[in-house]
Symmetry: C2
Subunit: 395 residues, 2 copies
Amino acid sequence: MKVKGFTAAAVQAGIRYQDRLDLGLIYSEIPAVTVGMFTTNTVQAAPVVLGRKRLLRHAKAQAVLVNSGNANACTGEQGMNVALHTSSLIADALEIEDDMVQVASTGVIGEQLDIEPFDREIPKLAASLHEDGFDDFAQAIMTTDTVPKTSSACVKINGVTINILGVAKGSGMIMPDMATMLCFVVTDARIPFSALNEIVQSGVERSFNLITVDGDTSTNDTVLVMANGAANNPWLDEENQEGVKIFTEALHKIFKDLALQIVSDGEGTTKVVTIRVIGARSQEEAMSGAQTIANSTLVKTAFFGEDANWGRIIAALGRSGCQFQPEQVSIAFDKVMMVENGLGCGKEAEELASQVLQQKEFTVTVDLRDGNESAEVFTTDLTYDYVKINADYRS
Amino acid sequence: MKVKGFTAAAVQAGIRYQDRLDLGLIYSEIPAVTVGMFTTNTVQAAPVVLGRKRLLRHAKAQAVLVNSGNANACTGEQGMNVALHTSSLIADALEIEDDMVQVASTGVIGEQLDIEPFDREIPKLAASLHEDGFDDFAQAIMTTDTVPKTSSACVKINGVTINILGVAKGSGMIMPDMATMLCFVVTDARIPFSALNEIVQSGVERSFNLITVDGDTSTNDTVLVMANGAANNPWLDEENQEGVKIFTEALHKIFKDLALQIVSDGEGTTKVVTIRVIGARSQEEAMSGAQTIANSTLVKTAFFGEDANWGRIIAALGRSGCQFQPEQVSIAFDKVMMVENGLGCGKEAEELASQVLQQKEFTVTVDLRDGNESAEVFTTDLTYDYVKINADYRS
């Protein structure tokens, strides 16, 4: 997959581990309209602070430098100087303005990021940029991820072919409200900032903000979408509703696809479960119920045990702040009704539900029968391997 | 330990498992002033609904019947009839009013509770009441608990000896705001309802509401404190401030002791960790920060891995809603300062902190340096055994 005017590359810089790609670069030949969304955590890594400031000023970027192995978070003034220094190295190598460089980091929090690997490798990195470099880039940004995550689309808008390519990483510290995840999308579409911003905001709301692995929000979450206009399509603005619609659908589909790839690759995950709360009085309450169920360690261990333990689901719902009448609630595992009017449907239903739980993917639908609002969250089971990965992560 | 006018007993009723005590009874020769606190979950088990109603009417009780193996929660009208029926059996056997009986249940949610074991065993249970029956009672209310939990005090107030004996259970579904726990305290003190109520409320706030194992609040949480006045002490009321003070300290100490026993016996737990947030602008924010850290699966798995991973602690704090300046925060493991002004204190500090983490108990102190308010929560590590216990619990 190629996107006009964009190139990418990655190198093994030995930032934390040897013999793996850990430093990636994306470059646009011309400054691209760029929308960024960043973590809502009060603690924000240096690259997040720097990136947000630059986008607020210019709403454009031309290069993105990403390292794995170290988050450059909780690193103070020294960490900010490292972020500034590495972005200057890129600006020099590519002969662009410092402010046109975005940097992102992922990995351990609280350790200073050594600049030596950047000094050493950035010239080589910049020199190896090529149209097909995105697969290498996708590998370079992985931490506990077991697979690289990419998604792309090619759509025709007003007779012009537009390419969109997305790359993401994420596996732990994943929770609605910007998970520990990085996502970079490049497109050759010509679109004004305001339109792109609206599409990105609504897309993140319906994708990355609906996934959870462990309920932890990171200090480094970043979504960047760069549109360089190289396709020379008619502007995607309010006078081109049809074009905006096609582009929105394509971008949102990529977001959703990447979000589901992240949750499927959640640390130690063996199952991906969709939690739907329907029939709620408000969307906020439905979301609060779905998120509390999706983050309950008791619910998630029951999924791992393939146990249709609906008592834990209703107990989590009951502490979520979502208002409901327990005696009206129904719960289904896929199409198997397990609970009707707050009561279990018996042994036969439980046996059928157990079969659903043996699947790698299934949906739990909780119907409150109290209104017309609903919400959906994507979660995982909680496994021995999750504990293993996170008890051992730094050692 | 004996408490005047109180007896207890337990039998093997085979409610869920054979050959273990699973049905316990406490009896007071005279109706005791009784304060009850119950789960805040929207979903409330039948015995909770019944017990609350009876205490609101009478503020007194004379008997408490508790079964393990089945929570009688999400069991609808049939479940309420079972609760009423079993309390009638006790009332008949002890020749007291139905309304003087409290019932409590713990175990699996969503299965109907069979009345046959109650019909069969209650006459035997009532006949075997004796002064030393509380150890058996403590065993009968256990589920995934590995040890029975009791705590007692004998204090002299106004020259009169007063005995207080507490029994508790709890291991999973444990979280501040009334954990899945049952706690029964009997005392021969003579005290009016209003004074006892105030002492119990403030005591629960400082004990059971400060522990967390997995962030899940159950449908059956109950604390009952019964004071039958058999000690004939001068009334513990507002005219007897000194007496109230001594009694309050003794009861609060028992609550705290039982709460720590519960968290120490948390499912799969190998460590008990005190999370203190100090220097906060408000008590609410300090508590929100402490609870979010205490419930973070990433923090809890790091404790299990004996990894002084303070980045996860500050990341959890950052999503807690607690306001703070990251560059002012300090974090200590016991007395080892790991973070000062938002920055790590280096390798040497980390090695010392690792030694602290090898202990079975330690304290993490997070100082926000932004005010004078503080909060403290008791939590556990998250282990392979937690996953094993909860993936297998119903099988």
